[in-house]
């Protein structure tokens, strides 16, 4: 992965590089839900709330300070803290799965409505005007820490986003292999048994949810930086649906799955967007339904199951 990443800017043109940068940022977002839902078993339908909060936190801070380092840090912290707060109410109130899904979805939709109605001079944070549905244009992009004048060029941004993707991917792998991670998976399998073994289920879920919120915020920061623009659409139903579809298509319980799902669907969305043959929502709705009804486990786990059933001669070890 790292080798490919380093080689890419040499062979791809500027437009392709920008495309790949945004794809990578979205993969980080996909990973955040793949972790929270696929491993933590937390049905979060509102991952875009944290993504959007990250984007707005970056936008507002960057405009106010004219420097991106603090903005990027806040873009991770603000959604993480918000996730912790929301998570506290949900997990310590012992809301069931379905309620959790609906509440998180409602939260992001209310953010959407809220941000849409912040047009006008009254809605500003310091120098930063929120601008309602028009969004915040011309945001300062990422600069070298401590040197606001030295902005990152597209190639550097690409490297940076790829580096974050690798760090998040590897970091989640390490986390899942740790004691904490294995307890998280055990909670997904059977909450009651975990409690009977003495593990605090609520606390573990809260931590997973908070980490997921922070990662989604990072993706939001990279997204806002990529277009130097953020609008309430980061909270929209379409946005939050997309994240769910990535994970469903790719498969729950893997980290590669959401990345693959994200890449396939992003590619599809880009292609559909340019040719206007059929409405994107229509196609997405059909894919969504098809996967839930026909391939409920998603691509990666289904392929793995196929692979496990097929007689692979190199994997057969006779114990005798």
């Amino acid at each position: 992965m790292v080798v490919i990443a380093l080689g890419v800017p040499q062979v791809v043109d500027q437009f392709g590089l920008l495309q790949l940068t945004i794809f990578a940022a979205m993969c980080i977002l996909a990973l955040s839900l793949g972790f929270v839902w696929g491993y933590g078993g937390i049905l979060c339908f509102g991952q875009s709330a944290f993504f959007g909060l990250g984007a707005y936190a970056y936008a507002v801070t960057a405009v106010d300070l004219g420097e991106s380092t603090a903005a990027a840090i806040l873009a991770v912290l603000v959604p993480a803290v918000f996730a912790a707060l929301l998570g506290y109410f949900m997990f310590y109130g012992r809301l069931s799965d379905v309620y959790l899904g609906v509440i998180t979805l409602s939260v992001t939709l209310i953010f959407f409505n809220l941000m849409n109605s912040t047009a006008g001079d009254a809605y500003r944070v310091g120098k930063a005007r929120l601008n309602g549905f028009n969004g915040m244009p011309s945001l300062p992009t990422l600069n070298v820490p401590g040197d606001p004048a030295r902005l990152l060029d597209p190639t550097e941004t690409f490297y940076l986003v790829m580096a974050f993707l690798v760090i998040v991917y590897v970091g989640l792998h390490v986390l899942l292999a740790s004691h904490f991670g294995r307890v998280v998976v055990a909670i997904r399998e059977n909450e009651a048994r975990c409690e009977l073994l003495g593990y605090d289920v609520r606390l573990h879920k809260l931590l997973v949810f908070t980490i997921g919120g922070g990662i989604a915020g990072l993706a939001g920061c990279l997204f806002a930086n990529w277009g130097a623009f953020v609008s309430p659409n980061v909270f929209s139903l379409t946005m939050t649906s997309q994240i769910i579809i990535w994970v469903i298509v790719g498969g729950l319980g893997t980290l590669v799955g959401p990345i693959i799902g994200c890449l396939i669907m992003q590619y599809l969305a880009t292609t559909l967007g340019t040719q206007q043959l059929a409405n994107t929502n229509l196609i997405f709705g059909i894919i969504f339904l098809a996967f839930v009804l026909l391939v409920p486990r998603g691509i990666v786990p289904s392929l793995r199951a196929l692979g496990a059933r097929a007689p692979g001669p190199s994997r057969v070890h006779d114990p005798a």
Partner: protein, 288 residues
């Protein structure tokens, strides 16, 4: 005095809107424990049905009160047959499938009508209250919301179908052991819930206009109302609508709509922290 009257009207209006947009969802949730994520799109379809019918010369009242619920009711029955029934007992898959359905509806309506706002003029005029004026049509909506709750109450209490519905809701297996067919009850429930949602969509079309993504504007409030209400269809909807409608309208009146929305959400999250099964999960147990 005028202010008090207008404020009361605003609050009743907020409550009535919540009742209208959430009662269909509440029926489906209360009876089947299914949360229909395409609920917002059912509202949207109701709006389009009313507008298209009106533009084709149908009387606006007939379009809103007859055509919209009929169209959406049929859509609901078809959706139950093709999707919900297949996933019966798999709650999360049902949620996801209805989400797919929601995108599908948005897509298909956008393809047909385009991504622009359609609307019809609100019938009736307005009424002067001292220095203020209130819309007669909104006054009628308050009446309709109250009437819907009353009709549901009577239907559940007094009719044979209502008895079967209440029995199946309490214990579907025992109802089946007595010869009641739960699949048929569920199909009917989903149809009735969808039809009421279509009715709400039709009635709200003159006020807010319709566009393919209008569902998102309503649906969060509807979910919050139903979940906070708990499983009792009538008591839950009425209690949660009254609470959130008042919070929302009062905050909106004295501050801004933004704070009104945020206040509604905060009130719901606080409420669910205290009562995880909703208002009727603990209080008013066993009510309709």
């Amino acid at each position: 005095m005028d202010l008090a009257a207008v404020l009361t009207f605003e609050i009743l209006n907020g409550v009535a809107t919540l009742v209208l947009i959430s009662v269909g969802l509440a029926i489906i949730f209360g009876m089947m424990r299914v949360i229909n994520l395409a609920h917002g799109e059912f509202l949207m379809l109701g709006g389009y049905a009313a507008i298209v019918a009106t533009n084709h010369g149908v009387n606006i009242w007939v379009a809103m009160v007859v055509v919209a619920p009929l169209v959406v009711g049929v859509v609901g029955v078809i959706a139950e047959r093709l999707i919900i029934r297949v996933l019966y007992g798999r709650m999360i898959d049902t949620l996801l499938a209805t989400w797919g359905l929601s995108l599908f509806f948005i897509g298909i309506v956008t393809t047909i009508f385009g991504n622009t706002v359609a609307g019809i003029g609100a019938p009736l005029g307005s009424l002067g209250v001292g220095r203020y004026s209130i819309s007669l049509y909104r006054l009628v909506l308050i009446g309709i919301a109250a009437a819907i709750l009353a009709v549901i109450f009577v239907a559940l209490r007094q009719t044979r179908l209502g008895l079967i519905a209440r029995g199946t809701m309490e214990n579907p297996n025992m109802a089946a052991a007595l010869g009641v067919s739960p699949p048929r009850v569920y199909a009917t429930t989903f149809g009735v819930g969808a039809a009421l949602t279509g009715l709400a969509g039709g009635l709200l079309a003159p006020i807010s206009g319709v566009l393919p993504t209008v569902g998102a504007a309503y649906v969060a409030k509807a979910f919050i109302t139903v979940i906070s209400g708990g499983t009792a269809i009538l008591a839950g909807t009425a209690a949660a609508s009254s609470l959130f409608g008042s919070v929302n309208q009062l905050l909106t009146y004295f501050t801004t709509p933004v704070i009104g929305e945020a206040g509604l959400l905060a009130a719901a999250i606080l409420l669910l922290r205290v009562l995880p099964h909703g208002i009727t999960g603990k209080l008013f147990k066993g009510s309709l």
